[in-house]
């Protein structure tokens, strides 16, 4: 039942965002590998080639797999967030349990017009559930939805 039954996928731009993030990590890795390669006499490629393969995998496959592993659903007064490629986590927070809501935007997210929606609960476990990779407008709309639902509940 790992299928994304009725889950809404994240914004496709999220793939690009993850690529940029991973590219930064990959660049650092390649620089380190290059230094190691120079340090080893003779251009053997023993460090460089594995590093290059890892970087290529991180740039091509990882964002796709992560993107397809993630999704959310906003139905029946509940927010459901599914994530994780290896460790699958499927979290549900009823609107009635939301303490407060954050819509956050980092510099990269702003460039892609994306945002992260974070809902906070009073629970010690899962005190905050973050949902990255939403269009900024969608995130704000979701926040309004949840907020009005809370207000209606509390009266």
């Amino acid at each position: 039942m790992d299928a994304a039954d009725d889950l809404t996928p994240l914004d496709p731009a999220y793939k690009s965002l993850m690529r940029v993030q991973l590219a930064i990590v990959a660049a650092v890795l390649l620089v380190a590998a290059s230094i190691a390669e120079v340090a080893i006499p003779g251009w053997t490629g023993a460090v460089w080639i594995p590093a290059l393969l890892v970087a290529a995998y991180a740039l091509i496959r990882v964002p796709l797999r992560r993107y397809h592993a993630r999704g959310y659903a906003l139905a029946g007064e509940r927010l459901r967030v599914v994530r994780g490629v290896i460790f699958r986590k499927d979290t549900v927070v009823p609107f009635g349990r939301v303490q407060h809501i954050d819509v956050g935007q980092g510099p990269l997210e702003r460039f892609f017009h994306l945002a992260t929606l974070t809902v906070h609960t009073a629970g010690t476990h899962n005190a905050s559930v973050a949902l990255p990779g939403l269009k900024h407008d969608t995130a704000v709309a979701m926040r309004e939805d949840i907020r009005t639902a809370i207000r209606r509940d509390t009266r």
């Binding site: 039942m1 699958r88 979290t91 549900v92 009635g96 349990r97």
Partner: protein
């Protein structure tokens, strides 16, 4: 008793100044005296003392003056909507805590303030990092008055117009109390291995202080042999006897520490039902007085130890938002038989599991995988041993470790189980010292299904619930069952809003 609500700033009790002075004596004067001895040790006594004594006097005087100023400048105001504390000598700080945010008011009596009849009043706000508001020190009467007032205010039962509030004193109904005999019995079970280890370590470190060599079996034998010549002939027996005496004395230390610590903490334990919640008072030297509001109880935890289980002793702990901050131990009943605990459980609005409940166990596949993973680790250790050519050592980890793990997984499978009924969720964990967590279906915060790669392959899942002040987990359930439980619980969570669950003293569902 009618107490007027004042809006004017008040100071803490003047006698708290005396408490400060006494505690300062311990903190400042004694170290100075020690320092003096160290310095004055070598010659020129009169000369040095001439400089030294005024220095001490100035230091003490300055501290006293400072403490006085601080006392004079610290005021608290019990206002309409909040409690305000203003403090600081040069820079003034004002802090306001609204009544709605105060989870609990606890009174604590440390030995010195107790001599003066003073208490420390702590307002627990549930804020992390121990950043709670505390007033040191007020008279006991003032502390209790403040507590009643905060509670009445928070629940909105105050008649604001005439500025008075009715406070009923000691209207509690006794739920549970511990006699001295019970406290001592409790202490016997609180045997601490850690203390024994420390004492054993110290004995090794400082054995030069002892009149004999603790770790020298020959010396022990001589000691034991001295009274009667016949012991000397029994060389081996005497050695065994020596070991027994050494272990026995360590065990005695462990038991004694357990008893003393327990008596200090639990003396004259009383749990009462007041109209606001469960009120617990305990302690011999430091007497604490804590109220756990019943409507804020999120879950109950029933625990036992592997020895005390044989005698039927259990402990009941309350999980609430305030216990999250860890500032107070929310043990409602620390040591009692089940028939004494049952009425307290009923009083919190929860219920013990019914006898005909359908319990879920973890999938056998989950336990088998747990065993196989552990066994793989022992095989890895064996491989390392083999690499060093020690085949006889390589046999030990798989046989001993594997045997233990197989036993553990089997017993854990038998004993750990989960259930849900109309209002509550139950989780039993562990076989050596089993614990039972009872949580209300309506009071959970979130639900999460977690599956690692192995779990996906084998079709089981872990179910984690968000609980204010604790956690609630069900491990290794079949996926379909985990989803069914989650959906059922989510449905009952949706029925009530957070504000009803944690914040207000609104009605709670009747226990069945």
């Amino acid at each position: 008793m009618i107490v007027p609500i004042e809006d004017s700033p008040r100071r803490t009790d003047p006698r708290s100044f005396a408490v400060r002075a006494i505690s300062m004596l311990g903190q400042l004067v004694l170290p100075i005296l020690f320092g003096a001895f160290a310095i004055l040790d070598e010659g020129d006594l009169g000369d040095l003392a001439l400089y030294f004594v005024p220095l001490v006097l100035v230091a003490v005087g300055a501290n006293m003056a400072f403490a006085y100023l601080r006392w004079q400048r610290l005021t608290y105001t019990v206002g309409e909507a909040d409690i305000r504390v203003e403090s600081g000598i040069l820079s003034r700080a004002a802090r306001s805590v609204p009544y709605e945010r105060i989870q609990d008011v606890s009174l604590e009596q440390k030995p010195v303030p107790r001599l003066f009849g003073l208490v420390e009043v702590k307002f627990e706000t549930g804020a992390g990092g121990g950043d709670d508001l505390a007033l040191t020190y007020l008279t006991q009467g003032e502390g209790e008055r403040l507590r009643e007032l905060v509670r009445a205010r928070r629940d909105g039962t105050v008649v604001a117009s005439d500025s008075t509030v009715t406070v009923e004193a000691d209207s509690g109904r006794l739920l549970f109390a511990m006699s001295p005999k019970r406290v001592v019995t409790f202490g016997l079970f609180e045997f601490s291995l850690a203390v024994v280890a420390v004492v054993a370590g110290l004995a090794q470190q400082f054995d030069f202080l002892l009149p004999f060599e603790v770790w020298d079996w020959r010396a022990w034998r001589e000691q034991l042999a001295a009274p009667g010549q016949w012991l000397a002939g029994l060389g081996f027996l005497a050695q065994v006897l020596g070991v027994v005496v050494a272990i026995g004395s360590l065990a005695l230390v462990g038991v004694a520490t357990g008893v003393i610590r327990t008596v200090l903490r639990e003396w004259n334990f009383r749990l009462e039902r007041t109209d606001k919640g469960l009120r617990r008072r305990r302690g011999l030297l430091t007497r604490t007085d804590l109220v756990m509001p019943v409507h804020r109880v999120q879950a109950l935890r029933l625990r036992t130890g592997f020895l005390r289980r044989l005698f039927g002793w259990h402990a009941l702990k309350v999980v609430s938002l305030a216990s999250d901050s860890g500032s107070a131990n929310h043990e409602a009943v620390p040591f009692a038989q089940m028939d004494e605990i049952a009425p307290v459980v009923a009083e919190t609005g929860f219920a013990l599991p019914a006898t005909d409940l359908d319990w879920d166990r973890a999938m056998p596949a989950y336990r088998v995988d747990g065993f196989l993973l552990g066994f793989a680790v022992t095989l890895l250790i064996s491989a390392i041993a083999l690499a060093f050519g020690r085949w006889e050592l390589a046999l030990i980890p798989p046989i001993l470790g594997g045997g233990w793990m197989a036993l553990h997984e089997y017993l854990d499978w038998r004993w750990s189980r989960y259930a849900l009924d109309r209002d509550q969720l139950y989780a039993r964990r562990g076989w050596l010292a089993p614990s039972l967590t009872i949580s209300s279906r309506h009071k959970l915060q979130s639900a999460e299904i977690i599956r690692n790669p192995l779990a996906r392959l084998r079709g089981y899942a872990d179910l984690h619930f968000g609980l204010a002040g604790g956690n609630f987990r069900m491990r290794g359930l079949p996926l379909a069952r985990a989803q069914a439980i989650r959906d059922a619980v989510l449905a009952s969570m949706g029925e009530r809003d957070f504000s009803e669950v944690v914040e207000t003293s609104g009605s709670r569902p009747e226990a069945h």
